[in-house]
C-alpha cells in the first residue's frame, strides 16, 4: 500500500493549495455569475450579451487572435528552426529572442505606444526623413485599422518567444537519425520540415498553440495602452463591468464566457493535433 499511496500523498499539498486559492475563488465567481440578489438567474448573461459592445468585443478578440496566433506560429517555427540549427551560441540566441518575454504586457504596450504616439519615435523618424511634415495621429479614434495593426505588432513582438521556446525544446526531442534517414531517402530540407519536423513536433505545437490562444483571448494591457476604448476586447469589457459599471455579477459572467471559449478552443486543438499513442517517438 505504501508504494501506491506515496505519489498521492506527495501531490496533496499542491492539490490543497490549488483548491484553496484557485477552485474556491473560481467557485465564487461562477456562483456570482449565476446569481443576482441571492437567487439563481441567467440575467447576468442576458445583460452581458444584450450590450451593444458585446459582439464588438467578441469580434475584436477573435479577429486579433486569428491574425496574431498564425503569424506567431510561423515566426516561432522559423526562429526555432534557426536556433536549433545553430552549432554554437544557441543559448545566447535563445536568450536574446526571449527578452520580450521578460517584459510585462503593459510595459510592452507602453513601448509600442512610444513608437506610435503623436510625438513618438515613428513620427520623429518620418519627419526627419522628410516623408511627413506634421505628426500623424496613428492611434486616433478614426484609425481603427492602425490601432489593430499596432496591437497585433505589439502582441507578436511580445509573445512570439514563448511559442519559440516551447518549439525549440520540442525540436530538441526529435532524434537526428530521422532527419538522416529522410535525407538519404531523398527528402529536401523543405520536405524534411514538412514530413519529419512538423509531424514529430505535434505535441509541442499543441502546447504552444493552446497556450498562445488562451493568452490571446486574455489580451488586455497592450490593447488598453495602445487603443484605450477604441478597440474594445473581452478582457477590457470584463474590467469595465467590474470597475466602471460596478456590476460584479456581469463581470463574473464575462469571465466565465472567456473561460468557456478558452476551453472550447483547447479541446479543439487537443483533438486536431492529437498524436495516437502508437505513433509517438
Amino acid at each position: 500500500m505504501h508504494g501506491k499511496a506515496l505519489p498521492y500523498l506527495l501531490l496533496t499539498p499542491a492539490t490543497l493549495f490549488l483548491c484553496v486559492f484557485f477552485l474556491y475563488p473560481f467557485a465564487l465567481v461562477a456562483f456570482e455569475a449565476f446569481t443576482r440578489d441571492g437567487g439563481f438567474t441567467l440575467d447576468n448573461f442576458r445583460t452581458m450579451t444584450s450590450s451593444w459592445k458585446f459582439p464588438v468585443t467578441v469580434r475584436n478578440t477573435l479577429l486579433l487572435s486569428a491574425v496574431v496566433v498564425p503569424i506567431q506560429l510561423v515566426m516561432a517555427l522559423l526562429m526555432a528552426t534557426m536556433v536549433s540549427r545553430l552549432a554554437a551560441g544557441r543559448s545566447a540566441a535563445l536568450y536574446i529572442f526571449a527578452i520580450p518575454l521578460g517584459i510585462s504586457d503593459l510595459a510592452a504596450g507602453l513601448i509600442w505606444l512610444a513608437i506610435f504616439d503623436q510625438s513618438g519615435f515613428l513620427n520623429t523618424l518620418l519627419s526627419n526623413l522628410g516623408v511627413i511634415d506634421r505628426p500623424v495621429m496613428f492611434l486616433g479614434y478614426q484609425s481603427k485599422l492602425t490601432i489593430f495593426i499596432a496591437v497585433a505588432l505589439a502582441e507578436i513582438w511580445r509573445a512570439t518567444a514563448i511559442m519559440m521556446v516551447i518549439l525549440v525544446a520540442g525540436m530538441g526531442l526529435i532524434p537526428r537519425e530521422y532527419y538522416e534517414a529522410a535525407e538519404v531517402f531523398g527528402a529536401s530540407p523543405w520536405k524534411r520540415f514538412i514530413k519529419i519536423t512538423l509531424p514529430l513536433l505535434r505535441p509541442s505545437l499543441q502546447t504552444a498553440i493552446i497556450l498562445r490562444v488562451i493568452l490571446a483571448f486574455e489580451v488586455f494591457a497592450v490593447v488598453a495602452a495602445l487603443g484605450g476604448t477604441n478597440l474594445p476586447v473581452l478582457m477590457g469589457e470584463t474590467y469595465n463591468w467590474q470597475f466602471t459599471l460596478q456590476d460584479r455579477n456581469v463581470a463574473a459572467a464575462m469571465a466565465l464566457f472567456i473561460l468557456a471559449i478558452s476551453i472550447g478552443f483547447t479541446l479543439f486543438f487537443l483533438r486536431v493535433l492529437r498524436v495516437p499513442k502508437e505513433a509517438r517517438i
Binding site: A181, V184, F185, G186
Partner: protein
C-alpha cells in the same frame, strides 16, 4: 554502373582519429563486407559514403562522379541504419514507401514495390502498424525493406540482420544475397559477424582501429591473412601463434620442431597455423592436452604448447584425454609467418 571509390579518406573527431587514410574500391555490383570489432570505424566509413558525415580528408566517388560535396539525396544510395531510424509517425507501409514518394512514383508502382519488398522481408502482415508496435527484429526488417524498395544503384547496410534470431537471419541472408545480385546493386555491408561476412561477401574488408588491414575474397582472407590481426580475428577458433627462433637462414625452430620458413634477418618471427591444419602423429609440436571439447563432426582440443595455448581441431574419432601428450604436425602448405613488429605477413 556504380563503382565506389574511397580515396585516402580520413575522419577525425576532435583529437580522436576514427579513420586513418582509407583506400578502398568497390566494383560495380560487388558485395563488399566491412568486418571489424566494435568501434573500429565501420559505421563512420559507411556514413561518409552516404554523405551523413564529412570526411576530414580524401575523396568519395560513386559511379565515376565525385560525391563528397553532394548531399546524401543526390548520391543515388539507399541505407539501412544501425539503429534502424524507422519513422515513428508513419505506418510500416508509409515507411517503406517514403523514398518512393519522394521520387514521386505513381501510387500503383509504390504499392507494388512496398508489397514486394515487405513480402521478401516477411513483414507483409505488419504494413498497417506503427514502429512503436514492432519488435526490434521487425523494425530492422522494415529498415531493410525501405532501402530495398528504392532499387538503388548502391545500398549501404549497417548490421542489417544483427537483431534477428539465428534461423531468420540465415533465411534473410540468403534472400538478401539473391535480391541484391539479381538487381545488380553495389553493396557495402557492415557486420561484425564473420560467418555472415564469409557467406555473403564477394570481398571482405577487414577493419582494425580505423585502418583497412586487408580487402580480399573470403577464402583469401581466411587462408592468407595479411596481418596477424586478421588471423586472430577471423576463424572460430582463431589462428594459433607461436614465436619461432632462427635456426639457420630460412629455417626456424617452433616449439622444438624445425621448419622451413621465410628468409629474414630477424632472430624471432611468429609462426601461425589454423586449428584445423594440424595432424597428430609421431613427430611435431609437443603439446599437453588441457581441454577436450567434442563438437560432433570434429573435436576441439586445447593444449599447452611452449607454455601458450594452442587449439587444434581433430577428427572426432581421435581418442584424446586431458593430460595426454600429443605431437601436432602442421600441414606445411598451411603455415603462415608474421613479422612480430609490424604484425604483417612475411
Amino acid at each position: 554502373m556504380a563503382e565506389i571509390a574511397i580515396k585516402q579518406v580520413a575522419k577525425r573527431f576532435g583529437g580522436f582519429t576514427a579513420l586513418h587514410s582509407i583506400d578502398l574500391t568497390i566494383a560495380d555490383q560487388e558485395f563488399m563486407v566491412l568486418l571489424g570489432a566494435s568501434g573500429c570505424g565501420k559505421t563512420t566509413l559507411l556514413r561518409i559514403v552516404a554523405g551523413l558525415e564529412t570526411p576530414s580528408q580524401g575523396e568519395v566517388w560513386i559511379g565515376g562522379r565525385r560525391v563528397d560535396h553532394l548531399p546524401p539525396r543526390e548520391r543515388g544510395i539507399a541505407m539501412v541504419f544501425q539503429n534502424y531510424a524507422v519513422f515513428p509517425h508513419l505506418t510500416v507501409f508509409e515507411n517503406i514507401a517514403f523514398g518512393l514518394r519522394m521520387k514521386k512514383l505513381p501510387q500503383q508502382e509504390v504499392e507494388g514495390r512496398v508489397n514486394r519488398t515487405a513480402e521478401l522481408m516477411h513483414i507483409e502482415q505488419l504494413l498497417k502498424r506503427y514502429s512503436g508496435q514492432l519488435s526490434g527484429g521487425q523494425r530492422q526488417r522494415v529498415a531493410v525493406a525501405r532501402a530495398l524498395a528504392m532499387e538503388p544503384d548502391v545500398i549501404l547496410m549497417d548490421e542489417p540482420l544483427s537483431n534477428l534470431d539465428a534461423l531468420l537471419r540465415l533465411e534473410m541472408r540468403a534472400e538478401l544475397k539473391g535480391v541484391l545480385a539479381a538487381s545488380k546493386t553495389t553493396t557495402i555491408y557492415v557486420t561484425h559477424d564473420q560467418v555472415e561476412a564469409m557467406s555473403l561477401a564477394d570481398r571482405i574488408a577487414v577493419m582494425h582501429q580505423g585502418h583497412i588491414v586487408q580487402a580480399a575474397s573470403p577464402v583469401e582472407v581466411y587462408r592468407n591473412p595479411a596481418a596477424r590481426f586478421v588471423g586472430s580475428f577471423i576463424g572460430n577458433p582463431p589462428m594459433n601463434f607461436i614465436l619461432a627462433t632462427k635456426a639457420a637462414d630460412g629455417s626456424w625452430t617452433v616449439a622444438g620442431l624445425t621448419l622451413p620458413g621465410p628468409k629474414s634477418d630477424k632472430q624471432t618471427i611468429e609462426f601461425a597455423i589454423r586449428p584445423e591444419d594440424v595432424d597428430t602423429g609421431t613427430e611435431g609440436l609437443h603439446a599437453t592436452v588441457r581441454v577436450v571439447e567434442p563438437l560432433g563432426p570434429h573435436t576441439l582440443v586445447t593444449c599447452d604448447v611452449e607454455g601458450g595455448l594452442f587449439r587444434a581441431i581433430l577428427e572426432s574419432n581421435a581418442t584424446v584425454a586431458v593430460g595426454d601428450h600429443l605431437r601436432l604436425l602442421p600441414k606445411p602448405d598451411r603455415i603462415r609467418w608474421f613479422d612480430p613488429e609490424t604484425t604483417n605477413a612475411l
